[in-house]
Each structure stands twice: as structure tokens, then as C-alpha cells.
Amino acid sequence: MSGIKQKSLALYHWFDRRLGFAKPITEAAEHPIPRSSASWWYVFGSAAAVILALQVVTGILLALVYTPTARDAWNSLNFMNHGLTLGWFLRALHGWGSDFMIAIVLIHMAQVFTFGAYKFPRELTWIVGVFLLLLTLGMAFTGQVLRFDQDAYWGLGIGASILGRVPWIGGDLVHLMLGGPIIGATTVSRFFALHVFVIPGILVALVGVHVWMVLRLGINEWPMPGRLVRKATYVQEYEAEIHKDGIPFVPDAAWKDAMFAAAIILAIAACALFFGPIGPGGPPDPTIIQTVPKPDVPFLWIFAMFALLPPKLETPILLTAPVVAILAMLGLPLYAGEGEKHWSRRPVAVLMLTVIAVSIAIFTRLGQTEPWSPKMNAWSGDAIPTRFLKGRTPLEQEGVVVFQQMQCRNCHSLNGIGGERGPDLSRVATRLTESQLIRQVLQGGGNMPAYGDSLSPQETTALVRFLETLNGNERPAQNDVLRLTQGESAPPSAPSPVPPNRSQ
């Protein structure tokens, strides 16, 4: 037994005599860190690196089968899902790994921001980190394109539309992005090159720089209120702390990193096992237009902003906001490189982080529900609740048919069922008088199309008669107008069970 031990030791020395890795690796692993930094809050960076390794490995395995052409990509993904042993699981690991990676990178960034760890002398570590975030998002977008399904196809259209808004060189940028005049084979192959060679290459190199700086400058100490960062004294104070009360990174702090990394990889594997691979969705055939394109979760908040920005400001905001946001993130450590690190003394920072996080969460949720979008099949699919049909005259019932036939339901819901683009019309008669209803239907306005061209006078009359019955058993708007014009005093609120216009 000891013979084997001696032989392997000799082998180890043979290699280390030539490689010389042992000393620098041991020194890096055992470098002293502040005792306070051996915290569960400090595990996200290493977890992100471990997920990156998972993505690289699973990515290479997917590349064994994936065919990067517009014609075959979708088929090769389906072949992986259904025709290849455990192909679905590898795709699922890569897909869920991507979502986890973005989440962990964002949490890591929020933690570093909250703990003031970007301050002197770690400004450049933060700046490189900002580029790592952008590269991670770049991987998510290009990866979504490689899952070449309907969402990917139309998502490329959204990308082209944004580039097409750039003044002067917009057209050139569109062609550069697509690799040709339309979304096709050259588009898929260049996104493949970006996703597999260009971005990962830069990403891995910058991760190396990032980790090098963490080792070189030391892990941020746990912030204490009132303990200010000053460029003149910080390094001496930090050195003093790790000499007085430092602990070796391996194993005293690294066990938490390792535990957390294992838990995260296990969580990704569990998601992959239970929820399966992400897509592919419908085939990337542009002639199949019965589709509601949507980007992946990390980009839903941006997708939602496109619908909610004022149309006139959209292009200027689209072209300037990302630049401003990135410059702000890059400039943060240069602007606030000294001073307080503790969150309790940095209320503006905490408020900013909260507002940004809550906003992105709200916009993501809106992106999932898409209340601004007409519901394309509501006119043919959603029933009219019976209470809106009972006791209606033939003309009013004809109006119901017009209401459905003319796709009003795609934007207007009744009793909460239907599109949400326009207001719910269950009680529209309490808001608009007959003449207002006619004007609104025929001329549109307030973001509603005009129907004057597509409705006959007979249809208009029927539709408005039906809409006038939608008063929720309250006083119709018409009565208020009549009351005001006749100068009557307001009667106590007494909803009439039968709307007057129906008893006529």
C-alpha cells in the first residue's frame, strides 16, 4: 500500500517539478480572508462560475447533435428531445442552467452593490462584472435564437426592428445582424458562432480576470456602519484585519461556496427532470402566422416596455436608455469609490435597488399577461355571459352578434372575459351616453380604431342598443345628462332594476 502511495507521490513530484502549479494554487486557495467574509452571502459569485462550467459542458454536448441552419435547427432539437437517449435531459440542463445563471448573476450583483463591495480598490472588479452581466444576457439572447422556433424567429424580428431604428446606419446594422436581407440560414449560423465561440471566449477570459482580481485584492470584508473606505488607508486597514483575524479561504470559507454550488446544480437538475427541456415551440415557418411571439423570461420586462412606452418617445428611449444604464453601472464605482459600505448608511442605494428590482418584476409579470395585446381568438372563443343576454330585444341581440363578429371582444372583456386592451364593457352604459357610444364606435379615438368603415348603419344601431343595456343595473349615463339638462336635483342612489331604455 505504501508502495503505491510513494509511487503516486513521486509521480506528483515529477509533474510539479515541470509544471510548478502546486505552490501558486496552494497559495491562492489558502489566502487569508476576513473572518466576517466567510458568510452565506458571499457564495453567489462562485456559484455563477460553477453554473458557467455546467453550461460549457452541456453546451458542448448539445453541439454534438445541433445543426446550425435555418432549415434543420428545429428538427435537430426535436430529434434531441425525442430521438436521442437523454437528449431531452441535456437540453433541459442547458436551458434551466441559463435561467439559473442569470438569476444568480443578478443576485450576486445586488449583493455586491448592497455590501458596497465595488468601492476602492475593487472598482475594476465591478466594471468587469458589468461586462460579465452583459455577456451573460448576450448568451441568453443568442441561445434563445438557436432554439430556432417561432418565438426565436419573431424575436429576431424584434432585434432587427430595434437596430433598424438607429439613425443613418440602421439598415446596415440590420443586414449585419441578419447576415443577409431576411431572417434565414446566415442569421442562424452567425448567432451560432456568437453563442458558441465569440461570447463564451470573451466570457471565460473575463471570468479569469474577475477571479484574478478577487484573489489579488482580497474578498470584501463585512461592511460595518461608520467604517468608511478611504483610498489612503483602506489597504493597510484591510491587511491589518486579515493578519489579525484572517482565516484561510480553503477550507474555512470555501465549504459554504462548495455546498451552495452543489445545491444550485442539484436544483438545476431537479428543474430539468421535473419541467423538462424548454421548447422548441412551433416550427420557424414565417407563413404560420397564428402565433403570439414572446421572448424568454429574462427579456420579458423589455418586451413589456415596448408596449407601454409612449410611441413618440419609444425610439429615443430605446436607443439611449441602454447606453445610459450601462454607463451608469460602469461609472458607479468611479463615482462612489469611497465612503460608507453599510446599507443602513446608504438609503439611496437601497431605494434604487428596491425600485429597480420591483420595476423589473412588475414589467416581467406584465410581459407574461400582455394586457395590451388584443386577444386574437376572444371574438370566436369567449362566450357572452348569459346575464347580458336575458330579456334583450331582437335588435339588442343582433347587437350582441355584431359585438362578437366585429372582434370588439378581442380588446374589450365582458365580466372580465376577453381582451384587456380596452376597458371592460360590462357597465359601459353607466359611463357613456347613446350619442357618445355612437361617436366612439364610428370614429374611434383614445387608442380605439374607427369602425365607421366596417359597420352598416343597421349594425351600428344594433351594437349601440346592446351596449346601452350594459349598465350593471345602475343608472345609465344618459339619465345623468338628462337630469343635468333638466336641472333636476340628484335623487338618492336608487338603481332601477330595469334600465329605462329597455322598457321603451
Binding site: L178, P286, L309, E314
Partner: protein, 198 residues
């Protein structure tokens, strides 16, 4: 004890006594010359590399567009708007289905037509035609257009893109070949007139 971290921050450049200029002025000059030579070689190589990368941009100066058929006239009855499709003129076999593109053909009176791009002018999503309400609706951000392509509601910054068309025998041809965006517009840039409803 000297602190290496502090030393490195204070004085990051490593000094080497062998690197005194008097010792090696000729070799230093040759090294710099070699660097310059490499720079020149790199610059020369960069020309074809950039040309290759920017190929799709240079191609744009020649037109991507050609007359392509969208179907026989019988497919597009008068007074109706129907989905047509065409094979993009500039394709490779690897394009597969993506090179067959749809468009909306509106036959106004058998003499005049309007051929709209499928792409919403807002974010390129495919617009759906609803013949009953005579509206195009977009599934992405709520863009709505009238039958002549004018914006009816929502965020689109301009009317639907239109293709130039001509009739050859029994066939409807359109002048098409590139994805229409705000800067690479379909063949007719002039917006359709909006209906007078006032």
C-alpha cells in the same frame, strides 16, 4: 515583513537591470521593427476579414429586391384581403422554410391592389387580418391597422409596409427581397392614406 499586495499596488512595474537601454539598443530597435511589421501584417489581414464580416452591408448597395410571384389573380378575389406567399429571391438551400414569406394582398377592385408586408411596423411581429372588422391586429404590442394599412391604434410608428406590385398575365408579382424595417423599408415607402372618417 514586506507585504506583496501593498508593494504591487504601489509599484506595479517590474524592473529588470538587464533591460537598461545601453545594453541592447540594436536588439531593442529590431524588436520594435518586428512589432511594427506584425502590426502591418495584421492591418493588411484585417482588410479581407472586415470585408467578409461586413459583406452583408456592402451587398446592400446592390438591390436585394426582385420581382417575385405571390400567386395567381384568382387567389385574390376583389374586395378581399388574402394571405399570399412568395419565395424570397435571394436564398440558399439551408434557409429551408424561412425563405418562404407571407404577405397580405388586398384586391381593391381587380385593378388596384395593395400588398402589405406581414411584419408590424412596430416590432416586426406577424399581423393578423380580421375581415369582419376590416382590421389588421398585431399579437405582440397591440398594434392595429385599417384595411388600407393606416395605423388604427397602438404603438406602430408608421402604416404597414407595402410592396410595389405588377400584374403579368395571370400572376401578381411584387418587388420584394428584404425584411422591411424602419430603415430597410419595403418597396413603397409612401404611407397609405388613412380613411376619412370625420
Amino acid at each position: 515583513m514586506k507585504n506583496p499586495l501593498k508593494e504591487l499596488i504601489k509599484n506595479p512595474i517590474v524592473k529588470n537591470p538587464l533591460n537598461e537601454p545601453s545594453e541592447h539598443s540594436r536588439r531593442k530597435f529590431l524588436f520594435q521593427l518586428a512589432l511594427l511589421l506584425n502590426g502591418a501584417v495584421g492591418a493588411i489581414l484585417a482588410v479581407p476579414v472586415l470585408g467578409y464580416i461586413l459583406g452583408p452591408v456592402f451587398k446592400r448597395n446592390r438591390s436585394y429586391n426582385y420581382w417575385v410571384p405571390v400567386g395567381n389573380l384568382e387567389q385574390f378575389p376583389p374586395g378581399q384581403t388574402r394571405l399570399g406567399q412568395y419565395r424570397n429571391p435571394d436564398t440558399t438551400p439551408a434557409d429551408g422554410q424561412t425563405a418562404t414569406l407571407p404577405c397580405w394582398v388586398r384586391n381593391i377592385d381587380n385593378k388596384s391592389f395593395q400588398v402589405f408586408a406581414i411584419n408590424c411596423a412596430h416590432m416586426e411581429c406577424p399581423v393578423h387580418w380580421f375581415p369582419q372588422s376590416k382590421l389588421f391586429m398585431c399579437p405582440c404590442h397591440g398594434g392595429v391597422y385599417y384595411q388600407d394599412g393606416a395605423v388604427a391604434a397602438g404603438p406602430p410608428p408608421r402604416p404597414l409596409y407595402q410592396y410595389k406590385y405588377k400584374i403579368a398575365g395571370n400572376q401578381l408579382l411584387i418587388w420584394a427581397g428584404e425584411l422591411p424595417t424602419l430603415s430597410t423599408q419595403a418597396s413603397i415607402a409612401k404611407p397609405g392614406s388613412s380613411p376619412c372618417l370625420g
